[in-house]
Structure formats: C-alpha cells, structure tokens
C-alpha cells in the first residue's frame, strides 16, 4: 500500500506561513522603528 498525499496542500501551507511570517516581520520592524523615532522627537521637544 502506498501513501497518497496531495503535494499542493503542503505547498500552500508552507507558502501561507512564509507569507504571514515575512509580512509580520517587515511590518513590525517598520512600525516599531517609527514609534521609537517618534518617542525620540518627543523627548527632544519636552
């Protein structure tokens, strides 16, 4: 008996996780940078 799996299900799962991971990483790093630079400007003005 041979196992039959649809390869494409696994491909979609891998790509979905990769997409979520990279977009979250890029978005978080950008947002946290903006927030930190805003805090710095505020500390300068105060």
């Amino acid at each position: 008996m041979r196992e039959t799996l649809d390869m494409m299900d696994f491909v979609y799962a891998a790509y979905a996780i990769c997409l979520v991971g990279t977009l979250t990483l890029a978005g978080w790093s950008f947002a946290s940078m903006r927030a930190a630079e805003k805090r710095r400007e505020e500390s300068r003005r105060k």
Binding site: M1, R2, E3, T4, L5
Partner: protein, 157 residues
C-alpha cells in the same frame, strides 16, 4: 595587566590577540566534539556497517541505503513488501508491513527503522524516503544505469 607585560601592545591589539586565541580554542573544541560524535550522531547505518557488526535481535537500529533496482516484491497479503537495501558493497533484505511513503521507489534512498531478524532479514517498523541533493524536472526522467549509479554514490557519500 602592567605595561611591561603587554610590551607596549595597544589595548585594542591585546583584545584582538586574546579573542583570536579564545576563538581558535573554542572552534577546536567544537570540532573535536563533533568528530567524537561522528558515529553516535549518525541517523542510520549503512548495509555494510550492519553486515560487519550485526546488531542483536532485540536491538533497534536504523538501516539506510539505496533500494536495489527490481527488488521490491509485494507479498500476497497486499500490505507486506520485501525489498533489498544496498550501498554498493553490501546488501540487506528488508521486510515491511504497512503504508510506504510516496517517494519510496527503487533506485532511491530509504531509511528503515526496525531490527535484524535471526534469519538475516531486517524487519522494518517504519520506512522513511530519503531524497538526494539532485533536483531534476520530470521530463528529464529515464536516466541511464550509469547516471543512477553515480547518483547512488553521491547519495551515500
């Protein structure tokens, strides 16, 4: 550290020398440990190793190698298969009952988890397909025997 001990070395260079020595020692220790582990850390044993040091019937081992061309024989019960694992120098017959992975084919790599029977047949409880480092489109299938041999050698290197 006194100035005389460092013989006028700038602190920067002193740190560089010390760190380089520490790094060399560290890498040496790591490599030594890895080298000492080379047998224990192997995931499987080749047929020639299994033949040379036959494990006891109660000792679970993993056997890895190439599935010999034309050796897969389905048994009448429909779920048991017999095949031969080879590494170019030795051959071990294997029996397995269950569902085989999709990539388990003749002329490709396999890792069988199980124990050596008294009759010289390796009884596998689990089969894993092992891929080699080659990525070839389906259209380029139908390689010659010579190419398959080379691939066998590359995978088992």
């Amino acid at each position: 550290m006194t100035d005389s001990a460092t013989r006028g070395l700038k602190p920067k260079h002193q740190r560089l020398v010390l760190l380089s020595l520490a790094l060399v020692a560290l890498i040496g220790a790591g490599l030594l440990a890895a080298w000492a582990l080379r047998n224990q850390a192997s995931y499987f044993y080749l047929p020639s190793e299994i033949v040379a040091h036959a494990p006891g019937p109660d000792q679970g081992v993993r056997l890895g190698g190439m599935v010999e061309m034309g050796s897969i024989k389905e048994q009448p019960d429909g779920t048991t298969i017999h095949f031969v694992v080879e590494d170019g120098t030795a051959k071990v017959p294997v029996s397995f009952t269950g569902i085989v992975p999709a990539l388990f084919v003749e002329g490709s790599g396999v890792v069988a988890d199980g124990r050596m029977g008294a009759d010289g047949v390796f009884v596998a409880e689990e089969l894993l397909a092992k891929h080699d480092e080659n990525y070839v489109p389906k259209e380029l299938e139908g390689m010659s025997q010579e190419q398959v041999r080379r691939q066998v050698e590359a995978t088992l290197e």
